[in-house]
Amino acid sequence: MEGAHDMGGVAWSGPVLPEPDEPVFHAEWERRAFAITLAMGMPGGWNIDMSRFARENRPPEEYLSKSYYEIWLAGLERLMLERGLVTADEIEAGKPLHPAKPVARTLSSDGVAAMLHRGGPTQREVRSPALFAVGNRVRTKMIHPPTHTRLPRYVRGHVGVVELLHGVHVFPDSNALGQENPQWLYTVTFDGRELWGPDGDASVKTSVDAWESYLEPA
């Protein structure tokens, strides 16, 4: 979708502002929001692309005015509301009002280390040969899906070169809708001038990781 989250190359005026000796979290509620979000992945059963879509799929003014962990919180609430794990009146009241929904699994403190160590690998078995090889010139498709995609706007319709093959990975555009549809994944590298025209920096090369269905031969 064409959301405010897709920020590559947008003309924001401000400088990057690193914070010296930055703490991991800036408030107690950030700690709890982070931990609740990770822990709810297990009973919630959603995948990372569903989580990302729940965060990014909101009006630009909302996305840009919320802090990072406020967006996490809003995304988590949406995922839980959609599945009836919590209800709007419970969030409003700040206490449980309805019986819990049965869930397959929850995260105990004994399970934390194993859950983090396992992570969520996205690589899948190869079932067909790769269409492209290292060095091939490819053009990214000009697509505008209304749902989740990981093809940023700033590379759409541009010609790049395949630099790496990563094997076959879960396709986020469909995974956000519940279908893994694994595909070959490539690192595709673009020249600065190709992406930004004569104003581009010719000494810069930028890559994205692109699934096969984002690409066509060039």
Partner: protein, 209 residues
């Protein structure tokens, strides 16, 4: 003016409190419904505040600087090489290490969200997740480096990796001169978080005691 500033500050403060209350209430609801265990939440927080952070990555870099065979394994297939030091898992399932040289400087960004190699760097800093970095890194990386207070020669090519998939990129910075014979532990003290993202350089020997 003073009154206005005061009101503004007060406004920010009450917004924060509102969020604080909302999160606290949400945790209560989820705990009472049996979906989350507060002890597991505490452990998740403790893990990322005290155990998983950029010191892990610094150890990887120091080993690569010290051990040519490890460096080759890291650049060849980073995930198992990093796993040799015990770092693996969430947000680091598929890691690629990229090496800085005098000719080539690598920089990592996630323009779409905040993808970052957690097992070696921990959770990302606020600037990494901010609009200015996410928008500027792919178009004007030299401008970003200027925001961080340094510049590279025009002859150095800049290579920006936008983390749009589940591949996580980890920069192997150049070993500072004057560190011949240093132990891995001493070398690790030179490695900054930003040098492993590509927005900084390692410290020089005179900067560490």
């Amino acid at each position: 003016m003073t009154g206005h500033d005061h009101d503004h500050h007060h406004h920010d403060h009450s917004e924060l409190s509102e969020t604080e209350l909302r999160v606290r209430a949400l945790e209560t609801i989820l705990t009472e419904k049996g979906y989350v265990d507060p002890a597991a939440l505490d452990l998740l927080i403790e893990t990322y505040e005290t155990r998983v952070g950029p010191r892990n990555g610094a150890r990887v870099v120091a080993r690569a600087w010290s051990d040519p065979a490890f460096r080759a394994r890291l650049l060849g297939d980073a995930t198992p090489a990093i796993g040799e030091l015990g770092y693996a898992g969430r947000q680091g399932e598929h890691i690629v290490a990229v090496e800085n040289t005098h000719q080539l400087h690598n920089m990592v960004v996630c323009t779409l969200c905040s993808c970052y190699p957690w097992p070696v760097l921990g959770l990302p800093p606020v600037w990494y997740k901010s609009a200015p970095y996410r928008s500027k890194a792919v178009k004007d990386p030299r401008g970003v480096l200027a925001d961080f207070g340094f510049e590279l020669p025009d002859s150095t090519e800049i290579r920006v990796w936008d983390s749009t998939a589940e591949i996580r990129y980890f920069v192997l910075p150049m070993r500072p001169a004057g560190t011949e014979g240093w132990s891995e532990q001493r070398l690790a003290d030179l490695v900054t978080r930003d040098s492993m993202i590509g927005t900084g350089l390692p410290k020089q020997p005179h900067e560490v005691a």
